[in-house]
Structures are given as C-alpha cells and as structure tokens.
Symmetry: C2
Subunit: 227 residues, 2 copies
Amino acid sequence: MGKKGIPEIVIERLPRYYRCFRALRGKREKISSHELAAEMHTSASQIRLDLSHFGGFGLQGYGYNVEELHTKLGQILGVDQAQYYVIVGAGRLGRAIANFPVFQEVGFSLAGIFDIDDSVIGQDIGGVRVSHADGLARFLGEHPVRIGIITTPAEAALGVAEIFRAAGVGGILNFAPVDIAPTRQLPVTNIHLTDRLLSLSWRIMHREQEQDVSRKDVCSLQNTTKE
Amino acid sequence: MGKKGIPEIVIERLPRYYRCFRALRGKREKISSHELAAEMHTSASQIRLDLSHFGGFGLQGYGYNVEELHTKLGQILGVDQAQYYVIVGAGRLGRAIANFPVFQEVGFSLAGIFDIDDSVIGQDIGGVRVSHADGLARFLGEHPVRIGIITTPAEAALGVAEIFRAAGVGGILNFAPVDIAPTRQLPVTNIHLTDRLLSLSWRIMHREQEQDVSRKDVCSLQNTTKE
C-alpha cells in the first residue's frame, strides 16, 4: 500500500488511465464512466473506485472531462514537471530506451548515458554522448537526475544502484536480471523481461484449464505515440 | 486466478523462484525455507504457500533440494521444452530483445524477425535474417511458433496480434504502447515501459509520505546470466 493506503495495483493502473485520456484528447470533450469502462474493458465501478483514490474527478450525470482528467492525472504522475533520467549500460537495450520518443513526450529527458566499454564511450545515443561510468557519481552531484535506469549486466547492477542511492537519485528503473531492493527513500521498479516471458510460457501451457482470462486489465485505446 | 485458482501474483512470482534456484545451483545442495526467505527478502510462510500451489516440494526439517527445485520449476514453466518465438518490429527494441542471451538460456529460440521497412529486411539480427511482415502468416503456418513478440509502433500492433491469433500462436508478449486483450485461448502479456516509468515517478513524488516499502517482492540473488 502506498500513500493514504492506495493499493499498489491502483498505482500501477494509473498510467493506463493517463494513457487512455491522452488518447481521447481532441476526439471527445467528456466521457462517462460507463463509456470509459467499455473502452477499457473494465467496470464503471472499478474506474470510479480507482480514481477516487486521487480525488473526486467525475461529476454525477456528466462524466469525466477529458482535457481536465488528462491534465490532473499528468500532475499526479509528475509529467507536468521536467524530469531527467540517466541510463547506465549503453548496450542494445540501453540504446533502445534512450531512443523511446514516449519518454520525452511524457516529460522525461535523457541527461546522460554511461558505460565502461571504451569502444562506445563518446558515441552519440539519443542525442547524448556516452560517458565513462567512472564519472557517474560526479555527474549525479552536478545534475538534478530524478530517475536512474540500469541496463547493465547483472554483476554490475548492484554497484550502480549504490551509486544512485548515495547520490540521492529519486528512483531506479532496473532492467538487469537481479532484484534491487527498494527502500523508503529509494523506490525501485525491477523489470525482468525473462520473468515475463516465463510467466507467459506458464499461461500458454495451462490456458486450456484456465477460466476465461479477466479482461479488467485491458484498455483497447490505442496510444497515438510510439515507443 | 489461473489454473486451480492459482493467484496471478503467484504465477508472476514463479519465474523469480526459478531464477533464485538457478542462481543457487552449484553453490549449495539444499536450502531451508527460512534461508531462502532471507535470501529473497520474503517470509518462509510466503515461500511455502507460493510453492504449495505447484505441489509439495520441500521436506519438513530438510528444506528444498536446489537441483530438484530448479528442474521442477523449469518443467512447470516449460523451459524443459524447446520453444520458438518470433519478433515483429526490427527497430531498436526488437533488436535488443532478439539478442537477449537469457531467452536462449531458458529454452526460447528466435525463429524469425519481421518488419515492413525495406531498408532492414535481409539484415542479420540475433543470427536471423529480417523478413518482410507480408510473409508472417505463411511463416507461422509452417513453423511451430509458441510466442509472438510485438515491438512495432502502436498503430501496427493490433493487426499483428490478429495475425498471431489467426495462426494459433500460443501467446503474445506485447511492447507496443497499446493494450492487447488476452482471450481464453491467447494469453497476452502487455509490457508498457512508459507506464512503469510513470508509476515510478508517482512513487518518487510520494515516497516521503509512504509507509516503508514492502520488500516481499525482492530477491537479492543475482542471476549469473546477462540480459
């Protein structure tokens, strides 16, 4: 549970609401919770409950104002502020992330990218020159970096996380195949792509015995931006 | 809830157990649930409860046999079988995924990679030549592909998912910023990296008001493989 007892699952769903309202902008002015539920393959009561954690947005009999919700959800998520991130690990995954246009569109700018491989240092990735990781701590002391992204091999990840922690970086998005423990002051999101592949593999093997998959976590609304 | 009422969260945690036992192999023969709990920053009762969904593994007073658990969890996850996947979208993210050595190590082989951009068709990525997406349906009809990975822009993703569905692909791992709905016969894992960045941003903004973050989803064991 997070702030005011907001369940983690609601916090994880919040960006999806933001994404849906973002996709609706310019297409319609308002949307009822029932219409939104149909678009998102969920229930109107789920939507009202989820959004109630962040304040009372909708008006009875009117629905949600698309532009207003997009703005308010953006504020709640912090996308109204300029935020900087760095990437440590300039391999293929680091390069892919450095070039995600969506990160820029939601307010996140790449401040630096670091590696220890002399053959990539100095290269331009996503408009930023790759620096040697030896300079990471100094860089973090001189720049307001909110998020540290780790795309190193597993054996380097914990050391990089410690540099982020010591420098007071706000949070860590970790792609290395090692779990980095969050603390009260340092939220961490571990994204293990192999784990997701394996749990999908389990679902495939057991799909015939499964009950029909809940559709509540699905939003059919297409985001108009690319990743 | 999945098969036999196994909670989704347990299925999502299963690869982490597999990863931990994989990391322990060769280092020790057996481990008690209390020792494993300390390694994984969780509780022994949580571990026993999670693993009880898949059969009774541990022996009272002995603990878990590392090699046996690694093998059994691998069987449960399907990594003991050769599995093939294709990637549609040969951009930076698709290339990064095509080159993840861990996918190969857990038994998943890249069978094909597809794009619509003539300038990348014919290139070698991860040991596989990029083919034109026009040939995707025919390829799927001729090869036993278990998992379809989508790394296209959002506007192409639903069309690709429909080709996968029609061809009887086992499941979809989708990275495009659009939610693809799972069905009874077609499990889908949507991985939205921007959503994870945004929910992390929310946590950073609210960290001071938060209760101490639960550590139960953390495993300090380092995987010895690279992604």
